[in-house]
Each structure stands twice: as structure tokens, then as C-alpha cells.
């Protein structure tokens, strides 16, 4: 495809991230949900979610991530899982584990859930519950047992940040002991809540280096003990010189639907206020994927300016993350500031220079809008 002839080629999406609800019993200060959380009253109904899932299948989606908030807060979760699986899609449940009893795990397995991603906050209940703002750690240990007991493959997800990165080795050991086939360690990303808390979450270079060693040692330790889980480690892009290929390119492989039906190219994209927001209740998913201004805004390379425009890596990293560019510079079309070639790289370097400066007590915890606080705390 010559860029001059056709600015981009749009292929069918592979994945849908369905944020079923923003309700969650946890209050993690690095939550990937937007600051403006959707209240329960604005959530799509069961029938509306089923329609979204069917439309997604029709345009090529073969992988459905049922996420939140806490998706278990939706009583219709088994019904939605069954609907998705009936279309042939791979059904991945992304959960905190709070409320995931043995019975519910068995029911979800029976309804066609293929795989579960369970979050852990830390190796011990004390610091884990502190950062979650809830007594959740013990529930998670029980949930892991319920998941593996139901025969479901388990990935344990951990967000690493300054407060827990020193315990990387013990966190991995716990995940392995819980029966995880995969352990996914991801350094906190700095959008939304994470950006609000960047000064208390960003690890120091020394902490990061120590965790890299800890991960390598854990790989050796657990490989030697048997088959060993797959340990995936995603390092903060702040410490990389080049940007990550965010979402494998804007609106290239995946789409996100929020609790109220907003359709986004990535879960963070609602921050880019310069783009019109599409909604599944107002426009067919196919039209949004192929024809909407928001989805086409950063496809291809035509939107780029230098240094991206002439960069040989532009087809591999796609200029990095559009949300990060918007968050830090106010212009979503600029080069991701984490790139060493970006004229805005000083924004990242100054944050790194301050890493380690504030005590952990300064977290801004994730909280729902005041009017919604009661329904959220009712949880499931």
C-alpha cells in the first residue's frame, strides 16, 4: 500500500475491551479508569451489552475482555459471558477477585469464560490492602483458589510502583504459588489516576534496576522448579528511550466500550477532549470503527509531524501513545514525550528527576463521584 495513494488501510478489529461497569470495591491510585467515572444509573443494560457484543462479533472481534471497574458487580456477567462465548469469541475475565466465590467461578467457567486475569496489589495483606483502600488481599487468595478449582487458566496481574516494586520477587512467588500460568507485571502507567499520583508511584532508576534482576532470577527459579509460568514484565515507558507501540497502533486491532456505551480506540482516549465521542447507542459499531472521526484521527502516518513523520520507526511504534501526548502537551498529535527524539522529552526527565521525592501517604485514592458513592460501596 503506497501511503500517497491511500493514507491508511483499516482492517477488522480483533479485540473488544468491555468496561461493563466502573463500580469497584477497590480504590487503587493507579486505576486505569478515567477520573470521570460513570455512575451506575448510566450503565448499559443487559440487552444493550448483548447488542454491543453481537455487533463486535459481526465486525470481526474474536476476543472479548470483560472488565471494569469490577465486572463481578454486574449480576448479568454470566449471561454476558455466555452470549460472547456463543459467538465463538475468546472470553477473558479481568477481575479484582473480590466476590469471586467457588460457585461463581464454576458458573462462569460453565458459561464459557476461557481465562481469568486476577489482580494482586502486593505480596502481603498490609501493603496490599493499604494501596487498594480495602480489605481485599485475603479475598484474592480465595478467588485464585476458586479460579483454578474451576479449571480456569489464571493470569495474575500486578501493577508495580514505588511502594511495592521492592517486593517484586515475593509477589511473583505468591502468584506462582496461587497457580498462575502467567504472571503479568506492569509498571504503573501515568494516565488519569496514575498521572495524578505520578510523584508517589514512579519508581527510582535503582528500584527499577533491582526489579529487573528480581524478575530474571524468578524466571530461573520457577523454570528450574518445573514447567514454570510465563512471566511478562512491562517496564514503564518513562525509563525507555523510545515510545511503546501503544495499542499496536491507534484503532488498529482493538476497541473499548465504556459502561455508558462510549466507543473508544483505547481505554484512555476519553481524555482527548479534542475528539468527538461516539456512543454505541447512537451509531452502529461498524460505522464507528471504519468511518468515525475519532477512530480515523490517528490511523496511518499522515497525522504525524516531525520527528515522527520522517522516523524509520514510525510503522513500528506508531508515534507512541496519543493519550500520553495529550496529557502532557495538550496536543494529541505530538510525538509521545517519552521518545528521546521528542522536543517535549524534558517533561519526562523532570518527572524522573523528582522520583522518590514524596512519601506514599500522598496518594489520591480512586473514588467514585460523590452522588454515586452509596451504590458503589454496595458493590455486588
Amino acid at each position: 500500500m503506497a501511503e500517497a495513494d491511500r493514507p491508511w488501510e483499516v482492517a477488522a478489529p480483533f479485540g473488544l475491551l468491555a468496561e461493563l461497569t466502573h463500580r469497584c470495591p477497590l480504590h487503587c491510585p493507579y486505576c486505569a479508569n478515567p477520573i470521570q467515572l460513570t455512575p451506575r444509573a448510566d450503565e448499559l443494560t443487559t440487552a444493550q451489552w448483548k447488542d454491543v457484543i453481537s455487533q463486535a462479533h459481526a465486525i470481526g472481534v474474536v476476543q472479548l475482555h470483560l472488565s471494569g471497574g469490577e465486572p463481578l458487580a454486574r449480576a448479568d456477567l454470566p449471561e454476558l459471558a455466555f452470549h460472547a462465548r456463543s459467538s465463538g469469541a475468546y472470553v477473558n475475565l479481568v477481575t479484582s477477585g473480590v466476590g469471586l466465590t467457588r460457585e461463581r467461578a464454576l458458573l462462569l467457567a460453565d458459561r464459557g469464560v476461557d481465562h481469568v486475569q486476577l489482580s494482586l496489589q502486593d505480596a502481603d495483606a498490609g501493603p496490599a490492602d493499604y494501596v487498594a483502600g480495602a480489605r481485599a488481599h485475603q479475598c484474592k487468595l480465595a478467588a485464585a483458589k476458586a479460579i483454578t478449582g474451576a479449571g480456569l487458566p489464571l493470569t495474575v496481574n500486578i501493577v508495580l510502583h514505588r511502594g511495592n516494586i521492592g517486593r517484586t520477587a515475593r509477589i511473583i512467588d505468591l502468584a506462582v504459588a496461587l497457580g498462575a500460568d502467567r504472571v503479568e507485571l506492569a509498571n504503573a502507567q501515568f494516565y488519569g489516576w496514575g498521572l495524578l499520583n505520578r510523584s508517589t508511584l514512579l519508581p527510582t532508576r535503582d528500584q527499577l534496576d533491582a526489579s529487573l534482576v528480581a524478575v530474571e532470577q524468578a524466571r530461573t527459579r520457577h523454570a528450574a522448579a518445573g514447567r514454570g509460568p510465563h512471566i511478562v514484565h512491562v517496564v514503564s515507558d518513562y525509563y525507555a528511550g523510545r515510545p511503546k507501540p501503544c495499542m499496536d497502533g491507534w484503532a488498529r486491532r482493538q476497541l473499548t466500550v465504556t459502561p455508558s456505551g462510549d466507543v473508544l480506540p483505547c481505554p484512555g482516549a476519553s481524555v482527548i477532549r479534542s475528539l468527538p465521542v461516539e456512543n454505541a447507542l447512537r451509531r452502529p459499531l461498524a460505522e464507528i470503527w471504519y468511518d468515525s472521526e475519532a477512530f480515523n484521527a490517528f490511523r496511518g502516518t499522515g497525522w504525524m509531524s516531525d520527528p515522527c513523520r520522517s522516523c524509520p520507526s514510525r510503522h513500528e511504534d506508531f508515534g507512541g501513545c496519543r493519550c500520553q501526548a495529550f496529557h502532557l502537551t495538550g496536543d494529541a498529535a505530538r510525538t509521545d514525550p517519552v521518545c528521546r527524539l521528542s522536543p517535549d522529552r524534558a517533561l519526562i526527565d523532570s518527572a524522573l528527576a523528582q522520583a522518590g521525592g514524596l512519601p506514599q501517604a500522598d496518594h489520591v485514592m480512586r473514588t467514585p463521584p460523590v452522588a454515586d458513592a452509596r451504590t458503589a460501596s454496595e458493590g455486588r
Binding site: 474474536v62 475468546y90 476461557d114 487458566p153 524466571r219 514447567r227 509460568p229 510465563h230
Partner: protein, 95 residues
């Protein structure tokens, strides 16, 4: 899991699909797909033929023999290399 050179890792003795991995045909794309927890692999004909035989009961020799029954020019080393690559993707595991 170490990630050494693929030749040294070698294929599992009786490979089967890894945990949480599903093999499917996608009518919309007219392609065989491998669905994994965090990714989707679009399979070429060779990979699809090999994966269809990875049920945990066949060893490398049986897989190669079954392929030779159906296709010409089946090379054992190619099968070994393909299985090693799939193992690195965590698409196949030990039987």
C-alpha cells in the same frame, strides 16, 4: 522460563495447546486463528495443520508422520522449528 536459542529449547515431547489457548476457524477472515489470553495469532496453513495435531497424545515423530500422509515435502526440522516458535508464544505446552 528461559528464552535461549530456539534450537536448544526444542519442541515439547508431546505438544498440546497451552493453558487458555483455543484453536478456532474465523469465517469472517477465512482464516484459522489461535486465541490466547492476551493475543490472537492468525495461522498460515502449515501452522494450522501442525497445531491441529497438537493434542498431547502425539510426539514429534507422529506429528511429522501424520503431516507426511497429507502433504508433500514435509521436513522434520521445519516442524521442530515451528513448534519451538509456537512454544515461545506459549501457544503449545508439554503433553
Amino acid at each position: 522460563m528461559t528464552t535461549g536459542p530456539t534450537a536448544a529449547v526444542g519442541p515439547a515431547p508431546a505438544p498440546r495447546l497451552g493453558p487458555g489457548v483455543r484453536f478456532t476457524h474465523d469465517a469472517a477472515r477465512a482464516a484459522d486463528l489461535l486465541l490466547l489470553p492476551e493475543k490472537v495469532l492468525v495461522l498460515n496453513t502449515t501452522a494450522a495443520a501442525v497445531l491441529a495435531l497438537c493434542d498431547g497424545s502425539r510426539g514429534l515423530d507422529e506429528i511429522t508422520a501424520a503431516l507426511k500422509d497429507r502433504y508433500e515435502h514435509v521436513n522434520r526440522q521445519d516442524v521442530i522449528d515451528l513448534l519451538a516458535r509456537l512454544e515461545q508464544h506459549r501457544a503449545v505446552a508439554h503433553g
